[in-house]
């Protein structure tokens, strides 16, 4: 693994793949829980994990460089089911990219088990992986100025659900009634890195 220093007290650990980054993240969380790693933030992302607020970054960097990449993240016990209507305005466009019917997009998407690879963009917005690479889709050429809260959307290799109304360039394939973010709830975020997710079709869509 490549370990890049970030300022005086942070390290960016680069993994070879998204899956390896998820496994690394799980291992770092385990070490923090057992007390062998003291760090303020562990922030997973597409190919990296950021360790921010380390006491001794130089020593940690040499430790991490010597690590063998963990093989795979242990499967999270927690599974969140999100009710979904596959009624998004970009469903036909996604179907065209996938070269299947709109109904088949819904079937494939609902048959997939996703994992929250990381969060970002907005509180509670998870980047979910699980679809095979052949189902990657581009972002929309022109982003929408307002994507409604609860929109289920695709971009690149990811599926995401907009926690609140915001501008966005992802392809919208459906909507969910699930509340992704509620700061009065514990935990506030329904999805956090490592959570397993399934989309469960409701209604006649």
């Amino acid at each position: 693994m490549r370990v890049l220093p970030v300022g005086d007290d942070a390290l960016l650990v680069e993994a070879a793949s998204g899956a390896e980054a998820q496994a690394l993240h799980a291992e770092l969380l385990r070490r923090r829980a057992e007390g062998s790693l003291s760090v303020r933030e562990i922030v997973p992302a597409a190919r990296t994990v950021l360790l921010d607020g380390l006491d001794d970054p130089v020593r940690r960097a040499s430790e991490l460089t010597a690590w063998d990449a963990p093989a795979a993240a242990p499967r999270a016990r927690e599974l969140v089911e999100l009710p979904v209507r596959y009624d998004g305005p970009d469903l036909a466009e996604v179907a065209a990219h996938w070269k299947v019917s709109a109904r088949e997009v819904a079937r494939i998407h609902a048959a997939t088990e996703f994992t929250v690879a990381f969060c970002g963009f907005a509180p509670g917005f998870g980047y979910l992986t699980g679809l095979p690479a052949r189902y990657d889709v581009p972002r929309r050429a022109t982003p929408r100025t307002a994507v409604p809260a609860g929109s289920v959307a695709l971009a690149g290799p990811y599926t995401g659900v907009y926690p609140r109304s915001s501008p966005g360039g992802w392809q919208l394939i459906g909507t969910t009634e699930a509340v992704l973010w509620d700061h009065a709830r514990v935990p506030a975020a329904l999805l956090s890195p490592g959570t397993r997710v399934r989309f469960v079709p409701v209604g006649d869509a």
Partner: protein, 289 residues
């Protein structure tokens, strides 16, 4: 009158509630937020007799005016500005008593950008994830003040500090930001990396709580393409496609896809919060500690 609240008579250009922010939630996409000039916020809290984590008001350039419903001790610091109570001049950088119903006026900044106003007991809207800070990127915390807003106050923790005036740094004529290179300096040409630390930049008027934007030479990339999103730190010098470096401040996004050429020392960021648009900026390369 024992009603512990503060009525906002004039909200000013942008006045927000700030404390020490909500670190520890970056993995959920939650920015740290918090006062942009933490030493100034801590000082006014101490002067007003508050705990260091009490919430204060952070004004932007043109101050604000407030009317407490009960007698309070306040302290104004950070950006230097005129202070008045009931129309009479009052001290800046020192504890000041504002009787119930009197008007506290925090004037336009004479030097610096952000004034901090501590009120005995602290500003006490409902905390979100352990913090009362307004986060302008994600919308968490209380909204920016508007005229007529009524802010609840907490219970005073102790007596105000017994000082006449406390020394505070002057805002910089030239903003010197010490940087360590990376993590993505290899995404730029060698010339761009040298330019960052040798050429003159200026604070752009497009700066805000998310980032200090700069005007100056565009930094040329050695690589095209997109960097996969990665975690961002406070002080990260991110370079968007226009090539002008942006220094991430408290409301910065937790992840980002533009390469970070260098990181500013945290100790230099309070001065960045007080640098008015047009201020000269010099990035100075230093060794990692």
């Amino acid at each position: 009158m024992s009603d512990r609240a503060l009525v906002v008579v004039r909200a000013g250009a942008l006045t927000t509630v700030q404390d020490r922010g909500r670190p520890g939630h970056a993995h959920l996409g939650v920015p740290r937020s918090g006062a942009l000039d933490p030493p100034a916020a801590a000082l006014v809290n101490r002067l007003a007799g508050n705990a260091p984590d009490a919430a204060v008001l952070e004004t932007t350039l043109n101050g604000c005016a407030l009317r407490p419903r009960s007698t309070v001790t306040v302290a104004v610091g950070g950006a230097f500005c005129p202070v008045a109570v009931g129309g009479r001049p009052a001290a800046w950088g020192a504890p000041v008593v504002v009787p119930a119903g009197e008007l506290l006026e925090v004037g336009a900044a004479v030097a610096g950008v952000r004034a901090y106003v501590a009120v005995s007991g602290g500003i006490a809207p409902e905390p979100v994830l352990g913090s009362r800070s307004t986060d302008l990127l994600s919308g968490l915390g209380p909204p920016p003040l508007t005229d007529g807003t009524v802010l609840p106050l907490g219970t005073p923790a102790g007596p105000p500090a017994r000082v006449d005036a406390a020394p505070q740094p002057r805002p910089p004529a030239e903003l010197v930001l010490r940087v360590t290179p990376g993590p993505r300096d290899d995404w730029f040409t060698g010339r761009a990396v040298r330019e960052l630390t040798t050429r003159a930049y200026r604070v752009s008027s497009a700066s805000n709580r998310i980032g200090l934007r700069t005007e100056g030479p565009a930094l040329e990339r050695a690589r095209t393409g997109e960097l996969p999103s990665e975690g961002m730190v406070l002080g990260a010098v991110q370079v968007p496609p226009d090539g002008r470096p942006v220094v991430f401040l408290a409301d910065h996004p937790t992840t980002g896809g533009y390469p970070v050429i260098a990181v500013v020392r945290a100790a230099d960021l309070p001065a960045a919060a007080q640098a008015v648009p047009g201020t000269a900026v010099r990035f100075v390369a230093v060794r990692r500690r």
